[in-house]
Symmetry: C2
Subunit: 503 residues, 2 copies
Amino acid sequence: MSHGVRLCFANPGTTELPLVEALDAVPGMRGVLCLFEGVASAAADGYARMSGRPAMTLLHLGPGLANAIANLHNARRARSPLLNVIGDHARWHRAADPPLASDLMSLARPVSGWLRAATEPNRIGRDTADAIAAARAGCVATLVAPQDVQLGAASGGPEKPSTARAVRPQPKEARVEQAARRLRTDEPCALFLGGSGLGSRGLAAAGRIADATGCRILCDTFPARLERGRGWPAVERLPYFPEQAMQCLAVFRAIVFAGTVPPVSFFGYPGVPSQLTDPQTDSIRLAEPADDVCAALEQLADAIGSGRADHAARPPPSAARASGNRLTPENVAAVVADLQPEGAIVMDEGLTAGLPYFEAAQSAPSHTYLALTGGAIGQGLPCATGAAIACPERPVIAFQADGSALYTLQALWTQARENLNVTNLILANRGYRILELELARTGVVPGPQARALTRFDPVPNWAQLARGFGVPGVRVVDVDSLAREFAHANREPGPHLIEVMVS
Amino acid sequence: MSHGVRLCFANPGTTELPLVEALDAVPGMRGVLCLFEGVASAAADGYARMSGRPAMTLLHLGPGLANAIANLHNARRARSPLLNVIGDHARWHRAADPPLASDLMSLARPVSGWLRAATEPNRIGRDTADAIAAARAGCVATLVAPQDVQLGAASGGPEKPSTARAVRPQPKEARVEQAARRLRTDEPCALFLGGSGLGSRGLAAAGRIADATGCRILCDTFPARLERGRGWPAVERLPYFPEQAMQCLAVFRAIVFAGTVPPVSFFGYPGVPSQLTDPQTDSIRLAEPADDVCAALEQLADAIGSGRADHAARPPPSAARASGNRLTPENVAAVVADLQPEGAIVMDEGLTAGLPYFEAAQSAPSHTYLALTGGAIGQGLPCATGAAIACPERPVIAFQADGSALYTLQALWTQARENLNVTNLILANRGYRILELELARTGVVPGPQARALTRFDPVPNWAQLARGFGVPGVRVVDVDSLAREFAHANREPGPHLIEVMVS
């Protein structure tokens, strides 16, 4: 009945108890308790990004689903496979409009690539199989299970999904040839990657292409997953603000997109277009996100053939070094990139205080980089938690802005309970720095109320919050102690939190 | 432009900055920063319950709204007036499907009694006035304001709502007479109250009716607001589990409902009906929740006339006393009821560990009682926060289960920042005790996975969590220290947290 789904991130209630009881009946299935549903959904996302397999969430009615939605939104933008299961009131009880009733389907629709409410006890096995099949194609598949349907379900064997597994569309030959032709010219070109194009197989092909043509390799500002560091081809990330992003893209005569779509501005600013690609630049859509992106890149690499470009792609950056003992964002980035262990998974929700890290980490040991994909803050700590459950043998670093971390700090408890090797670096700039930047962009001098809404006063004490959840926590105020504590946390098993007082 | 709305519980983002800037331009308007949207929505609810006026929330796009939904659901069930404002992407930018875009209206609909997306900059003043007018009728009024509409809006003076203010329907004479006739008989009868029927004016009338007829006064298991304690007529609350609730109601030959509807089971259990009122009992609907409930009760009291009933209503309970030094739920209830200061506001999300408190507090000094109305846990701490902002001169007690408190613990920071007189009593039974009870009800012995999903191991340390947010926190393990710390917290200004290790 599990169809390869082995993990259930759960925050259940009364209407899910038949499913809770069933956890003990499914061999190989494991429930992981989360103290808030937003932790469960991001943990399932992190697990999916690292394992490639869907995890299951178990949520309680409309409010439980609602609490999970922000991070389901991020999972949707990451195209993560996720089986999202919600218990509902027994159908015969809904007409009474009990206190916890609400329009679940209306809440679920915006985040669900696949959505169904189970109606027949003897079809719930099939419903689950269909949901898992849909999730595997790269979406949040939401199954609403009324309590009476759960109770009536026979605990039978596995069911086959009602439709055959979807096959990823193969590359179009004409697109491959068009892309090869353009990349072989002397014009400045870029390969713009997303999805599996940023995995090991996709990057191997992309590296061959860049080596042969001298094209640069770019990715979205917030990739779901990217292999990088020493030994990997350098992938540049698109700048966040639209003016810089447009400037970055305008130098190219052609951009080949594989596994993603042409980038758009994160927000709409008056006088700035939504589409960031220069109208003069040719956009070649080699492979859509749902296509077989790796096959497309490999065919493109084969079509181009080997040979070194005279005009080499960007030289690899030299290792960043901290300068002085102040915890500037640059120094923090340099220390972390320098000391992060080989093979780490880095969940980056560092936002403004974490900006210099991406550049610095290009020269770090080989690692996997996960970003906040949908802009719904509060993904980092729980997504790192799920990644650590998927890869218990790898060190995980949550590189995390403080304002965002406050959304889902309950994730620390699950890290303690599961004894996960997560080092949580809280970049504490004690405010919503992004809002201060955006206010400055508007050119208006903010009044006292507007200013007050961007600052954390009193300053939360993260070391204490961590200890409250059973995670050892320390606060560091200079580069030397950051280096010492970070090295210590990486050496010692189990979760740690370091509050980095960024200045 | 504020239409009497003075408070804005905000967790804004880039798309709300024009509204953030406007806070400094509206005289008398105050922004209160919350570190999570679920705190903002419950604080607005608490403010509304205590002030009778709507507060405004300011939320960021779909994910910000989603984080607020669970407590908006509670506000909807409380019929609290609430102006729920959400910034959206500029309309011209939406077609680009930027990362933070989602179907906002689909998310907002289930919790909104009134819902509109602003489309014209020169109509946004009118839109706001309409939303406030709708909210004042007792609902969550959601206004979605795209960023370009905000930016184009002239900062003009106040606008009138487009429709005249709704008048609450007056009592139907026939119903008043029917109710009076039944209550005057010798049959066992009850007055079942909700909404303003549980306020001072409604209770005064209900007290006259009970004095004259000997009827008992009941309320829903989870009333939005109830005046009680010494000097108030005793109002019994309907038991939570349906079997006990049905037993409680079955003794009445007639029940007169005012300000609420006949009660239904919280969940649907096989073999137990949704409707809890015995089919043999006459249900007389004196006043619907939207009616003028107080006027109906006063007309009923007048129709019945004065005179003491021979068969008196229940005698007032004697004050509960702690027995021994163990922190049983009964002892905790007795200490709190005994020591709570005169005129306190008690937000009760104590759930299983808090169950005996309601009974015990009938003999406590006069106080206002607020309950978790919609079953979406995580209402207590932030609702108490909003209540304290509405009534700075009154002591506020958050009587709070630990599992639920973990949902929105960020409320503690707003209490510290605003220096609110809230005493947070965390009833720590270190698990989801309600799920253990419900599992026991099913008669199935839960397996190890099911059991693990109901227990908090490691045990969160609430004293440390509180200090992490700037609130003095202590843990108590016996009745004597609870009494000492509770008295101390009530004496000393500002917020406090006491972790009560319930055994």
